[in-house]
Symmetry: C2
Subunit: 498 residues, 2 copies
């Protein structure tokens, strides 16, 4: 329709131009047509803006269809609750207070099950508590005579509203009962103050609480049984996906550094997106925290028990962020300088690529552990392999100066005087050494991630894939672990020396 309009008016405009047959005559076409042109431009701009907006909205819907489903769920819950008005017997029982059910559904319905339950319980308990308190205050006020009644009511509203508002600043209250405190103030003020006018106070409070309970139960039922989105599951998936992303961006960084000359330029776009995975990890703190907050309110669902250790996921997230910070430093290292000598680069490239592939395979294995919720039988082996390659890298670094001190032997092409050669060499080594020491740092942070995930596996009682075999080999394993620990301590000491 809009397209057709554009086309016809475009033709009109060209006719006007043909009539005038010179550019200076165009403004003489009359104020009406000028206004028309201006208006047309305005409308076209508006249509374009609306079109772009709708396009973006459509993309959001296509990207995550669950958002669309959530919207349909809200619409459905509201329509169901409207039945209170349409059905005569139901309306008679609660009357005008049915609006509280509608209001509850609008305010309480959230994207995830946990958030909906959290808000629902806060609303019900906040309302009930405030209702009882308001009754008490109203009784005291009504006993104290006509004159004092407004005074006592006003003072109690002032005091309790201030106190409840202040409680919202206390972190432990804010984390769980922020919404409840607001509802408490709301209900207390409404009931206390309207108690002064409305005679059937008890009936009103009773109907209001029952409609709120109806609204919240409806919300909880709809959110739990129609395509539920569990905050806990989202957190679980987020953490394991972020771990995969981190592993990929580590791999990508190291690949880019050592294969920079030509090979990667063909697929310029593809690795770029992969490389920036660590940024997702760095920026997901707020999401993780709110998910963990809401996951606590959820009942057992899928593979998760009621008391699933959601707080441990925050610890895993924190250790992943500390690792992602190092990957960012690594990325900066690549971006800022590519002047490391090809000789030293080649010399270290094999071992560095090995460290990075081992590190990322440890991370991928850990991500798999989280995804499947099964202890991995090979994680100890992989970590040990990573440690030994880190030790190899360490040895290579120790060996580097020896390679450099007699430069003439290994570098037949001498670059001038002896002095400048030696100068160039140290300066050329520095970027590679920085890169390698960051790799070592990253692998030690990956070990920290593995530890936090192992804590999670213990707390959440992940099943082992080879539990039976493990029990038989217990003493042996212990001995091996002890010797590994010794090795590790030595390795760590060696690392600290670099």
């Amino acid at each position: 329709m809009a397209h057709q309009e554009k086309a016809t008016s475009g033709v009109e405009w060209r006719i006007t131009l043909g009539d005038g047959s010179s550019k200076s005559l165009v403004p003489d076409a009359g104020p009406v047509s000028r206004i028309w042109i201006g208006l047309k431009g305005l409308i076209a701009g508006l249509v374009l803006k609306v079109w772009k907006f709708l396009k973006r909205a459509w993309d959001i819907g296509v990207d995550d269809p669950r958002k669309v489903i959530h919207c349909l769920k809200v619409g459905m819950a509201l329509t169901v609750v409207s039945l209170f008005y349409f059905m005569r017997p139901l309306y008679k029982s609660v009357g005008g207070n049915a609006m509280w059910a509608i209001m509850t559904v609008v305010v309480v319905f959230e994207n995830t099950v946990g958030a909906t339950i959290c808000k629902s319980l806060n609303r019900v308990f906040g309302t009930t508590l405030a209702g009882f308190l308001a009754f008490g205050v109203h009784w005291v006020a009504s006993q104290s005579g006509q004159e004092f009644e407004p005074l006592i009511t006003g003072a109690s509203v002032f005091l309790l509203a201030s106190t409840a508002t202040f409680s919202r600043f206390i972190p432990s209250v804010k984390a769980r009962f922020d919404y409840g405190a607001m509802i408490f103030i709301l209900t207390f003020s409404l009931v206390t103050v309207s108690g002064y006018r409305v005679d059937k106070l008890f009936d009103m409070a009773h109907q209001r609480i029952s409609t709120i309970i109806i609204g919240t139960s409806l919300c909880i039922l709809v959110t739990m049984f129609i395509c539920p989105i569990w905050a806990g599951e989202e957190l679980h998936i987020l953490i394991s996906c972020n771990m995969d992303k981190l592993a990929n961006s580590l791999d990508g960084c190291v690949d880019e550094h050592f294969n920079y000359n030509g090979e990667l330029k063909d697929r310029d776009k593809q690795p770029d997106k992969k490389l920036l995975g660590y940024k997702c990890v760095l920026s997901s703190k707020a999401t993780e925290e709110s998910m963990a907050k809401f996951a606590r309110w959820e009942p057992a669902h899928g593979r998760f028990n009621f008391k699933h250790p959601w707080q441990q996921y925050l610890k895993i997230g924190a250790s992943m962020r500390s690792c992602a910070c190092c990957v960012e430093a690594l990325k900066r290292c690549i971006d800022s300088e590519n002047q490391a000598s090809e000789f030293t680069k080649k010399h270290l490239s094999n071992i560095c690529l090995k460290v990075s592939s081992n590190s990322s395979s440890v991370m991928k294995e850990v991500a798999k552990t989280i995804k499947t919720m099964k202890r991995s039988p090979s994680i100890d082996f992989l970590v040990e392999e990573m440690r030994s390659t880190v030790q190899d890298l360490q040895n290579e670094l120790n060996f580097l100066p020896k390679l450099l001190s007699p430069p003439e032997v290994l570098h037949p092409e001498s670059k001038g005087t002896e002095e400048t050669t030696s100068t160039t060499h140290l300066l050329e080594v520095i970027p590679v050494v920085t890169f390698a020491s960051l790799m070592i740092e990253i692998s030690s942070r990956i070990q920290a991630i593995v530890e936090t995930v192992e804590e999670l596996a213990e707390l959440a009682e992940f099943k082992g894939e080879v539990q039976e075999k493990d029990k038989q080999n217990q003493p042996n394993t212990n001995r091996i672990v002890a010797s590994q620990l010794n090795d590790d301590q030595q390795t760590m000491k060696a690392l600290e020396r670099v």
Copy 2:
């Protein structure tokens, strides 16, 4: 009181022990006393918990008295709005709809002026728009006969609620009209659905909108004229304080690195707190964003115009975080290894301390620029000085290999064979070189901060302290700036080679 009780019951218990004269007889003291002891423990625990909670709340209040003032403001606004119920003439004009004014105050009153205005406007416009739409739908429904009325009403609620919920997922809507969309759904459902029952629909809608306007105006008045907390000013102060903190923690880090041996151990606690200032910078992203979001809604206040470039503060914040990331790497550098040889450390300590003191004085000057909102006359000079010391550091690094290549001359005490000496030297140099290259990176990021602040100064039209003089010297200054730029480019190229 609780203390006294404990003491007396403690005595009772000892008497019982004396009577029994053996430990096995204690449980025979009777179930009543056992219950009493248990109950006492429970009460004591509860009292202790409540006491701790109150203590924490008190600390929060003492730390930031403005929070307490905010609570008192909420209490006051609520008490004032309750007057609608208490005053007979006022109550007669709006009736039971006075509750919407109370509800508005509870829901809309926020900590900062910007947030309150944002929510107020959202509430008023959301309600008005939804009200008009609901009227239209109600009229259509009432024209279409008894049978179709509930059908049309239900379908419109479903459609508009789903659409409005979906619009809350679109970032541009979410940033400004999230609350408005919710209020739209609420009002539309309430008015459309109750239109089916309530006859005097127009009166109800009119009263409701007017009470909401009364509530929001009261909130805006109280929040603006009684100890106002402006989101914009908070953002302004936050940014300049964070800049000072960053400067201090940079200074502290470098001091700790070079004066580690003994000198700093006496004042162990004091520098630690100072050192961790960069963590504040790293974690303040969410606060900055919400402050900037609300600051847009605020009218001109204090030194800020209505169209103050609040978005630019977010850019400054981002560049500060990128610098803080480097400071974290520097801190890690210090924590992980102190094995750099004293010789190289001493050799570079003076120049490193100079770079850090110049860098932090640039940052402090920039913080002062923001604080006073006046262009600093000395900032160009300070930046130039920082650049030249960075160049010096660069030269020292270039000179380092020459110092090391004949180790016997400078180090009279030879550590064994020649081979091991040279090995030790390269390894000892690495941490110091890493430290120095981080310092260089930090100074280049500080230049980025200076640039974003200069953009802010232009956008917000900061006054220059020596504006008149500047104008006279314009051509000269330009030439100097151009030559500086040339120098910088050369310096940067030199830096990249490290």
